[in-house]
């Protein structure tokens, strides 16, 4: 289907189902039960899952295929957001032109930054991209925000004010980002017994865009161009002595992944018309690296899983506080209860980073291929159990003819 082989079609269908049914899948617990705080099916968080999924899928095209570790991709995310908000300010709240401009601007900036940074490889490339991202952050945070020339609105962040021109804004349209009149905030809530499910217009816009760019990523992975990118990662020396200049390939991959980041930034602004400089900071760049490695570098679905995993922790684990813990362990004797809560305290609430860090270490040490490798191992393990001991795997898997 669509020029994909059977395996990739299955993968695409799985991703499509997961994203389209996410409001159900992420809300497995009745809304007034004690477990309801583990529900992640509210629009704001679902949007973030998908947006960071797009960001990580794009990052993986550069890092997973060519092996060039960029530490400055958040710059393109920020540029995307600023472009989108400027589009809102000057023209209209329609998200389509805003997102288009974000992608174009991120593409132009990544062309410039990539052209310079790709002169070096390895750690020097990472440092160059990091330097560019920090420069962009500093520019956005202070330099480009002064009374004479205010491009980024500094610390406050860029937002839409009532006296902005908004040339194509008409009275009938919502005063928020919209898709030809359909507000991104409009949500239909479906109550089924004790459960409640939110269907949000903004989320579905992001979901559809993610399916499109995920499909594009599959095509890139499987194309001769993708093969060349993997060749760059595998052996640049042989690449050079095969008459190929690796620079145009790496630059193309860099620009493509920059445009993915710009798209993610544009979507962020489309969901919430605000752009701040902190979006460009190095921690944001590091986060996408974590997502990709956690999910599985160089795999198609890995970055999406990694993004979901990290965002879930950030939003759900951080909400568990001491009173919630006390509620859970109320059945224990008083002294025990306090002790257990005291032990768990550093790992939840503001300490969610600690839990995430430990999980990240475990994954990197025991599953170097990320969550995807974990899934593969589980599947093989189940298969091995089912088929019995007579055909134990020989240790190496060699594809059959």
């Amino acid at each position: 289907m669509l020029g994909l082989d059977k395996k990739d079609t299955t993968l695409l269908i799985i991703v499509a189902l997961l994203t389209l049914l996410a409001p159900f899948l992420l809300n497995p617990f009745p809304s007034d039960s004690a477990m309801a705080q583990f529900n992640a099916g509210y629009p704001d968080l679902m949007q973030r899952f998908v947006i960071f999924g797009i960001f990580a899928v794009g990052f993986n095209i550069l890092f997973g295929l060519t092996g060039y570790l960029s530490f400055g991709h958040a710059a393109f995310l920020g540029i995307g957001s600023y472009s989108a908000v400027w589009m809102f300010k000057l023209f209209s709240y329609n998200v389509i032109p805003a997102i288009a401009l974000s992608v174009i601007m991120a593409g132009l900036f990544s062309l410039l930054i990539g052209f310079i940074s790709l002169r070096r490889s390895g750690i020097y490339f990472s440092i160059l991209t990091l330097a560019f991202a920090q420069m962009s952050f500093a520019l956005a945070y202070s330099v480009l925000s002064n009374p004479k020339f205010n491009l980024t609105n500094g610390e406050t962040g860029l937002q839409v004010y009532a006296d902005d021109p908004q040339m194509f804004h008409r009275d009938g349209l919502p005063d928020l980002p919209h898709l030809f009149g359909l507000s991104m905030r409009s949500t239909y809530t479906l109550d089924m017994g004790a459960w409640s499910f939110d269907f949000n217009a903004g989320y579905y816009l992001c979901a559809v865009i993610m399916m499109i760019v995920f499909y594009l990523a599959i095509r890139i992975f499987r194309s001769p161009f993708g093969m060349m990118l993997r060749a760059v990662k595998s052996n640049q020396q042989r690449m050079n002595y095969t008459g190929l200049n690796s620079r145009p390939y790496t630059l193309a991959a860099f620009v493509i992944s920059g445009m993915y980041a710009g798209l993610a930034g544009g979507l962020m602004a489309a969901m919430d018309p605000l752009a701040g400089a902190e979006r460009m900071q190095w921690t944001a760049s590091g986060e996408v690296v974590l997502m990709t490695i956690l999910g599985g570098t160089g795999t198609l679905i890995g970055p999406v899983l990694g993004a979901g995993f990290i965002k879930y922790f950030e939003n759900i684990f951080s909400k568990i506080n001491d009173s919630v813990l006390h509620g859970w362990f109320a059945f224990l004797p008083d002294g025990m209860e306090d002790f257990v809560v005291a032990v768990l305290h550093p790992f939840v609430g503001k300490g969610w980073h600690l839990t995430l860090g430990i999980l990240f270490m475990l994954v990197v040490i025991f599953l170097p291929g990320g969550l995807v490798e974990g899934g593969t191992r589980l599947r093989n393990w189940f298969r091995g159990k089912r088929s019995g001991a007579d055909d134990k795997p020989s240790g190496k898997t060699e594809p059959a003819e």
Binding site: S223, P224, S234, Q237, Y241, A252
Partner: protein, 251 residues
Amino acid sequence: MGILEVKDVGKRFGGLQALSNVNLSVKENSVHAIIGPNGAGKSTLLNCLVGKLIPDSGSVMFDGQSVLGRAPFEINQMGISRVFQTPEIFGDLTVMENMLIPIFAMRDGAFRMHAYETVANEREVIEQAEQMLEEMNMADKRHMHSAALSRGDKRRLEIGMCLSQKPRLLLLDEPTAGMARADTNNTIDLLKQISEERDITIAIIEHDMHVVFSLANRITVLAQGTPLVEDDPQNIRGNPKVREAYLGESA
């Protein structure tokens, strides 16, 4: 006038004169071996031919054109392919993909920088790759990860990748280093077959005298960065100067 003309090439690394006044002429369709003791400058010379190093003085002409100042990928496009001492292949890719890359790089007889430019006939590219794997006796391994191949198979694959681009000059840097005897003999047979069947010139740097004397029809002896003699194999064997500088030392 040979296909490769090296004139007065010199190269200095700090205080070490690695090459001085190297003159070399490789005749078209010959198998030319460059031998010499360790540190004689063989690898430095080879690196000067493929653009990895730029000599301090002298000239290197391939088919009437200077190669100096060109990047390795440009020199490859002129028709010089290089086989490395340790096989340089795309280890993360399958054998088939390894073979596709050089053919994608060079199709319709010309090099293309970009694989995403339209391929007139992708089927044709795949057929060429399959045919080359067939010739290298590796068709049954096409889906294997190339990193899992044996040393000898990696070498065959690397040579196959070079040949698929129909180079005019094939440079080999100790192609049998670290190989078992059987693999060495297979490689010798393969190279013999290549030089007989194809319109190709082979220049080979080698330590193993068995390999040199079974393949070469012209030999240059390098010692201390400068050529000692250039002659036919039978004359080299008897040459007292060579015995002193190299063969005697190793015997």
